[in-house]
């Protein structure tokens, strides 16, 4: 049994298709990242899996349970950090952990959990006096109380300082090492690359790419290319004297040669040398996940600029 099986999941709000028929599975012990621009449908999708929202269509199985119908059972086994985590104003993180432990009827050492998420210093501060990052860490601490086998972390590191972010990465790596399954959303692609075994990029309620980040880069990226600083004449010369594809970026004064084989770079450079013309810096480059993400997401945005303006505005109200 896979911890998560989602098939043709749909959720709409009026005319807006917040989640538009997505399917994916997550394996046990896997860290799965959901990426996508604001309003893509990540939180909606996650909350459906947590049993907090009812779906309009499709099948969802989480730890073998229907999250909406068997939510109470499911909640014993999962840990959740909601986006925009809040808690009782006059309660301290330490008291919150003890409260959760009582509710889940488990024994925990609150100080150990606080240490784990780097929150010992604010253990006795009322929640409404905590900084944004400290609140977020409280959320993470609470999600750990019931030692869940599956965790949903909705933007766990948004608004954290770099140090705290790394601390949370460590916690997540630790959980992964213990074999926990984790679903994570983030807007930081480096974070996704650092932590996630596989990612899905969502846009307008659909999954537009899925796989390891290497797979996504390979499938949707432009591949490796050679860039030579030089004139357009040089570009034409190389084109004429090799059977390579040669593009020229006039604005940056760059000759761009996509490489089918790495050895092609040698032919290109030999031609450049032969030409007797001047040329500057050379480098080989490959699309990063960022490049692919921007291409996938903005490409879709250009096509449906009008329809998409609205939901994004609505979020910002």
């Amino acid at each position: 049994m896979l911890p998560i099986e989602v098939t043709s999941l749909k959720k709409h709000y009026g005319d807006l298709k917040a989640v538009d028929g997505i399917s994916f599975t997550v394996k046990e012990g896997e860290v799965f990242g959901l990426l996508g621009p604001n309003g893509a449908g990540k939180t909606t999708c996650i909350e459906i899996m947590e049993g907090l929202r009812e779906r309009d269509g499709g099948e969802v199985k989480v730890l073998g349970l229907d999250p909406w119908k068997n939510g109470y059972q499911l909640h014993q086994k999962i840990g959740v950090i909601p986006q925009d985590f809040t808690f009782f104003e006059k309660t301290t993180p330490r008291e919150a952990i003890i409260y959760y432990a009582d509710l889940f009827n488990v024994k925990v050492d609150p100080d150990m959990i606080l240490r784990e998420v780097l929150l010992e210093d604010s253990a006795k501060v009322h929640f409404d006096n905590l900084s944004g990052g400290q609140k977020q860490k409280t959320g993470l601490a609470l999600s750990l109380v019931n030692s869940p086998e599956l965790l949903f972390l909705d933007e766990p590191t948004t608004g954290l300082d770099p140090n705290a972010r790394r601390a949370i990465w460590e916690v997540i790596r630790g959980l992964k090492a213990k074999g926990k399954t984790i679903i994570l959303t983030t807007h930081y692609l480096d974070e996704a690359q650092q932590l996630c075994d596989r990612v899905a990029i969502m846009n307008h309620g659909k999954i537009v790419a899925m796989g390891t980040s290497e797979e996504i880069i390979q499938q949707h990226g432009s591949g490796e290319r050679l860039e030579i600083h030089g004139s357009e004449k040089l570009a034409d010369y190389i084109k004429a004297n090799t059977d390579l594809q040669v593009d020229y970026n006039a604005a940056r004064g760059e000759i761009i040669i996509p490489l089918k084989k790495r050895i092609d770079a040698l032919a290109a450079l030999a031609a450049a040398e032969q030409s007797g013309m001047d040329w500057g810096e050379i480098q080989t480059r490959q699309d990063s996940l960022d490049d692919v993400f921007i291409r996938l997401v903005s490409g879709a945005e250009i096509n449906s600029d009008e329809t998409e303006a609205k939901p994004n505005d609505r979020r910002r109200r």
Partner: protein
């Protein structure tokens, strides 16, 4: 299903948060006491509470023993009656001038040799000043007459029947006629007022805020259930209500000499009341979309009850149509029940009120739990 342990841990967290928030504590406990002090002070000068009386004691003795100083004993007895407060005036003053200077019409002069004459069985007259148009003068002359009678009877009883016991029924209570004063009525009313306002406003606010900030969603991810959550709030407001009850009764009795009949019959009202209004507040917070609308609806539901359910004035003083209206307000039955127990000692009447409150509470509680959603659809 329902776990006492979870209710208790939620109760701990909630009550601690409540106590840390000075605002809630003020409205829950201090505010009703302030209301009692204000209303008690306003209305006790008239037909209820203590009346100031100036007394000039011209009987300066000499007394063979302090026991023989009947004049002082008489004034002490008056002062202890709870109805009037004796302010002594020096024997050298011109008494009527003194009263005028102090804008008072109530006074007593005890003549010289009063004690000696009394002990000798000789008639002796004291002078009671008063204004026939003022209700306070009526209280003064009534009380003084009562004590004079008492002292007279006491004299004869000692003189002629050394061996027979005291004449039954002749005690100081004859003077302290058990009339119901405004303060007696005000205490149950204000207890009702705080039973209504404290849980109601709080639950309207919490339930709509928690919905907005998604705290309910968050709690739904724990094993805590809706019933447990609501129950822990109800328990807290019962605790608060009982604390408020003791405070208010204490202040009423000690500051204003209120007559309060404390009976077991009060307890159901002190338990059902907070339960009813906590659930009603929850219901309002649940059926409304935003904290703002919840606040407005909450006020619409609460305000008529605050004033028309017999809290500040007996509904018998209201026009007939308002009296009819009062009978649809849940708080009315709580206040009436409290009055029946605390003021009139009318237990059968209170039982009927109790039954009505029980039914309303059950309906509202069930409705609140049923309609209340942790999660959205």
């Amino acid at each position: 299903m329902v776990s006492g342990k979870r209710i208790f841990s939620d109760f701990k967290v909630f009550s601690r948060g409540y106590l840390r928030n000075k605002f809630g504590l003020f409205f829950g406990l201090i505010f009703p006491v302030i209301l009692i002090l204000i209303f008690g002070a306003i209305f006790s000068g008239g037909s209820s509470g203590t009346v100031n009386v100036y007394a000039q004691n011209q009987d300066t003795g000499p007394f063979a023993s302090p026991q023989m100083d009947i004049a002082s004993k008489f004034l002490t007895a008056l002062n202890d009656s709870g109805t009037i407060k004796v302010i002594t005036v020096d024997a050298s003053e011109n008494f009527s001038q003194y009263l005028a200077d102090h804008s008072s019409s109530d006074g007593i002069i005890i003549p010289a040799n009063f004690s000696a004459n009394y002990l000798a069985g000789r008639q002796v007259n004291m002078t009671v000043y008063g204004n026939p148009a003022s209700s306070s003068s009526g209280i003064v002359s009534g009380t003084v007459n009562g004590y004079a009678n008492y002292f007279n009877l006491n004299y004869f009883q000692r003189k002629y029947s050394d061996t027979t016991p005291a004449i039954i029924g002749i005690t100081s209570a004859t003077v302290n006629t058990q009339q119901t004063n405004y303060i007696d009525f005000l205490i149950p009313g204000l207890i009702g007022f705080s039973i209504l306002t404290s849980p109601m406003f709080s639950l309207v606010n919490i339930s709509s805020e928690y919905k907005k900030t998604k705290l309910f969603k968050q709690l739904s991810l724990t094993p805590l259930t809706k019933i447990e959550w609501l129950t822990s709030k109800v328990i807290w407001y019962i605790v608060l209500t009982i604390a408020g009850f003791l405070l208010m009764v204490g202040v009423g009795v000690f500051a204003f000499g209120a007559h309060v009949n404390l009976a077991i019959g009060l307890i159901p009202f002190l338990i059902l009341g907070p339960m009813l209004f906590a659930a009603l507040g929850m219901l309002v917070g649940t059926v409304t979309k935003s904290p703002e609308t919840a606040g407005v609806i909450g006020n619409i539901v609460t305000f008529p009850m605050m004033f028309l359910a017999g809290t500040f004035f007996p509904i018998s003083t209201m026009p007939a149509y308002l009296q009819t209206f009062a009978h649809v307000l849940p708080l009315f039955y709580i206040v009436e029940g409290l009055n029946n127990v605390m003021v009139y000692g009318n237990i059968p009447g209170a039982l009927i009120d109790m039954a009505v409150v029980l039914v309303i509470t059950a309906v509202i509680f069930v409705a609140a739990v049923k309609l209340f959603k942790w999660r959205e659809d």
